[in-house]
């Protein structure tokens, strides 16, 4: 087993005081340079859990989080942690492609510029490398100044991936990145996710169990805020240990 990039210890979360917790006492290691998938029915807490990993839940009013999330051994919830630099290290791609209303080039260069990169040559290199790594370069290299909105849905999602990796994160979180895409575009993103894990640690939330089975090294199954079972994907999908996992992946509920 390689080293854990992220270690989550006894993480619990309630959206407001008195409500049943959305996450209960979740403990999980995420290996470096691996691809982990979170599966489970709607409302099981998998997206909430993903968003805890780069503190996206901080925005939610009244949220209460206990436990620890360690990135390379350091607690991301420690008071001295700069959330902006945390999110640079732990990037995110969302369910619906959300390109900014700029050109393709500007979308990718946005993050590096924000971080102070002004050199046009270096920005050009970053744009090319990011678009190559997101598998979009060949399709857009001749029209980098076209509006991002002119791209197809699948291309827009790959652009968002390029934008996320332009700031060279260490972890890439993907929250149902293909749920708005057709099967061909989905296949491209899945292939891409498997390429990306060679460089980054990738965590993907998916409604689609088959997607988890196809792409991931490890799978974690959530149910009603609880992490029911996690382990190597081949094991979860051939010999799950918990009856609830078995019932879910065989389509008996959820």
């Amino acid at each position: 087993m390689s080293q854990a990039k992220l270690t989550v210890e006894s993480l619990s979360l309630s959206y407001s005081r008195g409500d049943p917790p959305a996450l209960r006492d979740v403990t999980l290691d995420i290996e470096e340079n691996s691809l982990m998938a979170f599966i489970g029915p709607s409302g099981c807490g998998k997206s909430t859990f993903l968003r805890c990993l780069n503190r996206m839940n901080d925005f939610v009013r009244g949220v209460e989080i206990t436990g620890r999330v360690l990135l390379d051994g350091r607690d991301v919830y420690a008071p001295d942690v700069d959330v902006t630099s945390l999110r640079r290290r732990v990037g995110m791609v969302f369910q619906r492609p959300n390109p900014f209303p700029f050109s393709i080039r500007e979308n990718v260069a946005y993050g590096p510029k924000l971080l102070g990169e002004r050199d046009r040559g270096r920005l050009g290199e970053i744009v090319e490398r990011s678009l190559r790594n997101s598998g979009l370069w060949e399709e857009v290299k001749d029209r980098l100044d076209a509006q991002a909105s002119s791209l197809s849905g699948g291309q827009q999602q790959r652009l968002c991936i390029a934008r996320a990796i332009a700031v060279e994160p260490e972890v890439l979180l993907m929250d149902e990145p293909t749920s708005a895409l057709d099967p061909m575009a989905t296949a491209r993103i899945e292939e891409l996710a498997r390429e990306l894990k060679k460089i980054y640690t990738v965590v993907i939330v998916t409604h689609n169990m088959q997607q988890a089975a196809r792409v991931s090294d490890h799978t974690a199954f959530f149910l009603m805020g609880e992490l029911v079972e996690h382990g190597p994907t081949t094991k979860i999908f051939t010999t799950p240990q918990d009856k609830r996992t078995e019932d879910y992946i065989t389509g008996r509920f959820g």
Binding site: A187, E190, A213, R214, T233, T234, F237, T238
Partner: protein, 226 residues
Amino acid sequence: MERYRDMEMDELFSKLFELASLTQRALSDSVWALSHHDKALARKVKDGDDAIDELALTIDTESFQIIARYQPVAMDLRSLEACIRIALDLERISDLAVSVAKTTIGLDVRIKPLLGLAPMGEKVTEMLDTVMKSLLERDSAMAESVFPMDDEVDSLEDMVFKELLEVVTETRGVIQGADRLLMVARFLERAGDHVTNISEQICYMLTGRRVKASDFRRPLPGADDK
């Protein structure tokens, strides 16, 4: 995702080819050891069986993992079914090779060389070679070409039986050795049947058509005289 699935399938099939080559080696070594009273080689065949069993199990496990992960259909699904079943047949053939090897280890009497036994072993080895080549080249006609070869194996078995009867009638005291050799002929005949199973499986995988070895039986020269 296609690329990853294809890569995993390719790796799986290279393991299957490795299993086939180990099995083929075990089979030909076991027959050579018997013909040449080479107990050391026979022991080597026997000792090598664990590795073969382990590889067959790995192939089985990985095939199921691919099914669970990718939900293959059509040719992909038939390929995995073929892989699982072929691995099973190969593993059985290697068990039969071990049985031949054990016979050599336990055989103390020397019986005059039997004309049919070595050719039987060679023929089965050739059949195995042909089916695996047909799988490699995705050639169902080549796979079907082993069916008549199995008929030859069967008639060689008859020949060995007759030879042994003569030996037993001529020489008293060799019944114990002769019955063992008769078993060897049966082991080899069984091995041939497993190869035809493999061939049927390859035909189904490549064409989606179920063929049976019995559909390809062709009368051997002289068979009409019986």
